[in-house]
Assembly symmetry: C2
Homo-oligomer: 390 residues x 2
């Protein structure tokens, strides 16, 4: 193993992506994303904090879990409490009381999936709020303004998340529109001198669409990279396509991305997805799975998933995962957590969430260590042998 050091290839105040090691056998990379709100070791999983809070956790819980970066949703924060209120608080970090890094998505996924009505035009997306039915227009410029005001460390360009399945014609049309919007986002971003309203640097990531069409994926990747973003995301995966299609798209995109830029796979996934994404050179992930599943009584262990609310755990006085060092496993039994879920006590949701987020973050730390020590494939084999999806 040897370490290579890269300069951040696009100049953003306070940012640098340092590539520390590359696995000799695979595309897996270990790095450090330096942000104005601290260092983020990659590969990294970002817990999802949709409405300015990672559901059921306090910011102290997140620090105890050693989360270095969390995700916020622009669509939700724009609707409630509104970006102006957050600006008045001094930005999202101050509003939440979270001094570590934040990434916000662009709302491109939500305006198409959550909003009651949406009308896509060259200008942007007209949508109705899922809360009160009020009408709103998201354009590349408005989204960049909102993200500038919210002040995350990493902001995502406004894109159209191409649905699956899509015709080649539609995927091409939507992907080309996303390219034009990406340029508009970049111009708006440069207009703010690549800084948040609060004054710190922000890194804008471009998003590559193209659905399952590899030639489109290649062309859209090349066009996006030409524009020169500080980082890049694979978009439009995990929307219903097969795993084979997912990884084909990821491989195609990553192959055409600059090695020195961070690579982000949006909205993925299961523990196995994270392992397989890392193997293909992905540095950043987010997904609601660990937090949402926890609230439904599903927890992750080294052996696979476990339905903690199941009756068979009623008299099981072992920890959820005997190998786990999280607060829940160190202090409470399956029987107690099962009881809490059974009688609908909120502590059950929180303990399960703490465990699942720990599982995901720890998985990333283990992978990083294996990459740095040049034994990623062996680690992957051992992990997948023990871990069995239900």
């Amino acid at each position: 193993m040897f370490a290579r050091f890269w300069r951040w290839h696009i100049d953003v105040p306070g940012f640098r992506f340092e590539l520390v090691a590359t696995d000799p056998d695979t595309g897996a990379r270990a790095g450090v994303l330096h942000t104005p709100h601290g260092k983020v070791e990659t590969p990294v999983f970002m817990p999802v904090g949709t409405q300015g809070t990672v559901k059921t956790l306090s910011q102290q819980d997140l620090r105890d879990l050693d989360a270095r970066i969390i995700l916020g949703n622009t669509y939700h924060l724009y609707l409630r409490p509104g970006e102006d209120l957050i600006a008045e608080a001094g930005g999202l970090h101050t509003f939440m009381g979270w001094e570590r890094a934040i990434l916000t998505d662009s709302g491109g996924f939500q305006v198409n999936s959550l909003a009651d009505l949406n009308k896509i035009s060259e200008e942007g997306v007209l949508f109705k709020s899922h809360i009160d039915g009020s009408k709103h227009l998201f354009t590349p410029e408005t989204v960049i303004r909102i993200e500038h005001v919210l002040g995350p460390d990493v902001m995502m360009a406004f894109d159209e998340c191409t649905p699956y399945p899509s015709s080649r014609e539609y995927a091409q049309e939507a992907g080309e529109r996303t390219l034009r919007w990406a340029k508009q986002c970049l111009d708006a971003y440069d207009g703010y001198a690549r800084k948040s309203l609060a004054g710190h640097g922000q890194a804008l990531f471009g998003i590559v669409q193209g659905s399952t069409f590899q030639d489109l994926r290649i062309r859209f990747t090349e066009e996006t990279v030409k524009m020169g973003f500080p980082g890049y995301a694979v978009g439009g995966t995990c929307v219903g396509e097969t795993k084979a299609d997912t990884w084909e798209a990821v491989e195609t995109v990553v192959e055409h991305l600059p090695e020195e830029a961070p690579h982000y796979m949006m909205g993925s996934g299961t523990p196995e997805d994270l392992v397989d994404g890392v193997m293909r050179g992905i540095d950043m992930f987010d997904c609601v799975m660990p937090t949402r599943n926890a609230r439904n009584g599903m927890v992750f262990t080294r052996d696979g998933k476990m339905t903690i609310r199941a009756a068979r755990f009623a008299r099981d006085f072992e920890p959820m995962d005997a190998t786990c060092s999280c607060y829940a496993c160190q202090n409470y039994t399956r029987a107690y957590i099962r009881h809490l879920h059974h009688v609908k006590e909120l502590l059950g949701l929180r303990l399960s969430t703490i465990h699942n987020v720990h599982f995901y973050l720890n998985l990333m730390r283990e992978m990083r260590k294996a990459i740095v020590e040049g034994r990623f494939l062996a680690w992957r084999k051992a992990f997948l042998q023990a871990y069995r999806e239900e």
Copy 2:
């Protein structure tokens, strides 16, 4: 000021109630209740942990708040998860992962207020579960067996909480039945050698009924004291009667209780109630108010109650209470907590609960200090001048 020391007047393994100071101007007392699970400084407020958890809080949260004793509900724990399961875990302390003191009530209040049907006889109370309608019989012996198995440090005798208003005849009949049940409870308790199934000492408290009839209150107090309990509770208050009636009953009962025993006022109350109860010689309190109100977005401050979910706090970037040292006030603003309540995020419920429980526990600590320093009346005046109920 001078300190007086009392021996625990009834022998229970591992228990002692130490009276440290008595306010020269009022009946207010400062003491220490020594239990097999640590020292509890009195006067004390016990957060309510109905189903083996103080709603929204972890046991670490409770330790951080320096709660020394919490309350569990026998009725709820009997129904779910069942006392046998808790026994298998090693008792309620082990089941919950809570190594400090616990008090359980006897279910006397719940079987009359929560259960769908109840039929009171000399034998006990036949009731239908509020969960599945199944029929159950609580007798003095079954309740003591359940409390012996659950293993709290303090257990309450099975009583009939006399409703308000009651006729003199009914209050007399119910109070005399409660006396007979008290004797049966004491016999069952002695049958277990005053110890839990797990093997530590347990203190059984007697409960005095009598509704608003002072001669009944006096007679029932005297009869209960004659039986010789390690501690005593005023029951049947805060059930709809006027404040004047409440305090008349409390004064009457406390006057006839042994000074050397702990005095517990069940189910009370507002911050003002705690102050006024302490002034009359009450040592122990419990109430769902701080936790339940928190979940409804109502928080306590030195100035009085505050509806934190109100729109007027949307852009208020001050802490809930600027004088408060709790985790919520030290780290989050009214605007953020209001947002969390507004968008129904669980962290809002927990932060409000942390604050309210801190408020209650801190109120008790302040009162204790004032008693020890012989300035309780001056403290009370200052507190009530600042604190205004809405």
